[in-house]
Amino acid sequence: MPLCALGQALEHEVKAAYLFRFLSFVEWPQSTFLRPDSPIVIGVLGADDVLAELREIVPGRVVQGRPVAAVRLHEGASLAGVHVLFVGREAGAQLARLAPTRGVLVVSDSERGLDQGAVVNFVRAEGRVRFEVALDAAEQRELRISSRMLAVASSVRPGKL
């Protein structure tokens, strides 16, 4: 089980696992799903190793009563039908260009990810992968993030509400 071999586990494996875990703690606007059993779609931009890992994890898994799907996104692709957008380190430059889209949880992997509009951003602390959360960005995108997730976040940028 690559997920659990913490320490020895490779960073992309950890991030993929985290991306999957986030699904449990986030509430999307109802309208972002076409049907009650429409899948939660994770779009990956510029991080093929994480995408590959996700594709290992998601088949057969059910979160919030929905299947989970992982797709590769290309630069400039439409974000319609995407619930989580992971912008890899290499695609970090794209982040600034993304318009804040309703119902899309943007996860970045760069030092200034939150400043550039991401809701969740991976950071490294004490040699381990952690994440920070920007509540204002989440509010902007009409997303609600469970306080339980916030409890383990390395830092939380407060929202306006």
Binding site: C4, A5, L6, R61, V62, V63, V129, R130, R148, A151
Partner: protein, 612 residues
Amino acid sequence: MRPLRWIGASVRRKTMAVVIATTVIALLVSAAAMLFYEVRTLRETHLAELRTQAEIIGRASGPALAFKDRKAAAQDLLMLRGRPDIELAALYALDGTLFASYARAGQSGIPPRAGAPGYRLEGDSVTLFHAVTDANEDLGTVFLRSSAGLRERMQDYVAILGSVLALSLAVAWLVSVWLQRAVTGPILNVAGAARQVFERRDFSVRAEKRTEDEIGMLADTLNRMLADLEREMTERREAEGAIRAADRRKDEFLATLAHELRNPLAPIRNALYIMQAARDNPAAVAEARAIIERQLAQMVRLVDDLLDVSRITTGKLNLRKEQVDARAVAQSAIEAVEPLARARGHALRVALPPTGVTLDADPTRLAQVFLNLLNNAIKFTDPGGRIDFEVEVAAGELVARVRDSGVGIAAEMREEIFEMFAQVDRSLERSTMGLGVGLSLARRLVELHGGTISVSSAGPGKGAEFVVRIPLAGERQPAARDDRAPFARASAARPHRILLADDNLDFASSFATLLRRMGNEVRVEHDGPAALAAAGEFRPEIAFLDIGLPKLNGFDLARRLRGLSATAGSKLVAVTGWGQPSDRQLASEAGFDDYMVKPVEIERIQAILRAA
């Protein structure tokens, strides 16, 4: 009860044991049940609590496990500080490796790897592995170890039980003391009374009735039994006393009897000696004969009285009632005592009713009553005394009073003297004669006549008065067959043919001589068949038959004579001796006209001859 033998025989200890044993058993059983239930529910609630705790920790540290945040996980576990019963806690990652742990001070032993979900009881502690899931996702395992506190609880229970037991025993002891007072107290009280009765033979002891329950009933029953027993015992004692008194009187009577029977013998012997020695002195011989006659009369009277006594005791004293003239009966009694009264120098004053007052009575017996009273008055009055005999009719009764100025009777003796053989002066040296039967005979005879007899006396030395009351006959009939009365006027009798049957040769010959001197023709036989044979040819007008005849007894002989034409209408007179059957009833049934007891009186014979 064998198992309770050690308790002994005391009801007190038994009730104590019962109360205490019941209390202890009830307490132990309820305590065991409570402990069992308590341990079970304790374990269950404890387990449920522990599961909840594990669930809470799992939920809280779900994100920490999910995002591998050991610090957050450790932080989450630290909230267990508020739960002192939880000794160890740990979180394990999905692969079973230890992720975070928590240990209360002084505790150790966190398993290095996660175990299978479930709980284990290890002595006083419970260990629990619980899966952590979030949104159906397995995230890891929680481990908790908690001291269930069973031991402390048990110790608490034992302490509580001990004090409850001690308290209950104290209460039970008090209850048994109370019970003793309320239950065994009355029982012991009854038992004590019963023992007292038995030990002291005192039937007047009574058990105190303290309660209205079964024990009260027991006390009542015991008391009733004791009352019955007491009454019976007193009755028995009284009866025994009466028997002893009667016995004593009989003994005294025997002594008196011997004395009385022997008394006349000396004068008779002297008289016989005089008659022999002074054969030529007619005055001396006449004097001697008079002595013998008097003494004999005295002895005859004694024996007659004895016969009457035996009749009384055997219930055979019967009356031959007829219409009698009260005056005549009284007169005959007076005539009999007059010589004696004169001899003692008494002034005898008599007041009688006129002739014509009749009553239904046995004239002989009624005269005997008056005779006895008059004799006593004469006897128990010093010479020169005064004796009143009054007979009158009052309120339909014949009232006869015999009053004297004699020795009188002490109050305590006034009832006693009517008892058989009772005499005030019992010394053999006393001047008066008698057996002590006169009054009891008199009373019996008066009672047979439906009357009463009573005595009054102003005390010793002040005289006495005896009063006889007899109801008068309802209808007055002219006295019939007056000539048969024993005290009928004497008149010359014409000569008769007389048959005399008696096996006593002396009696027969002397009686025959007497009858022949009276001018009668007499035939003597000494047994029954001979008398029967003689009767056929001799055709007697009168037959004197002994009852105790050999070969054919008097009763049977009389029956046969009545069957013979020669003697069918003859006058048959039964003659009985001492100790022979003396039933007038039997005699008259056998066909006898009259009845005589030996020794026969000359007046009686004359009366019979006159009547024939």
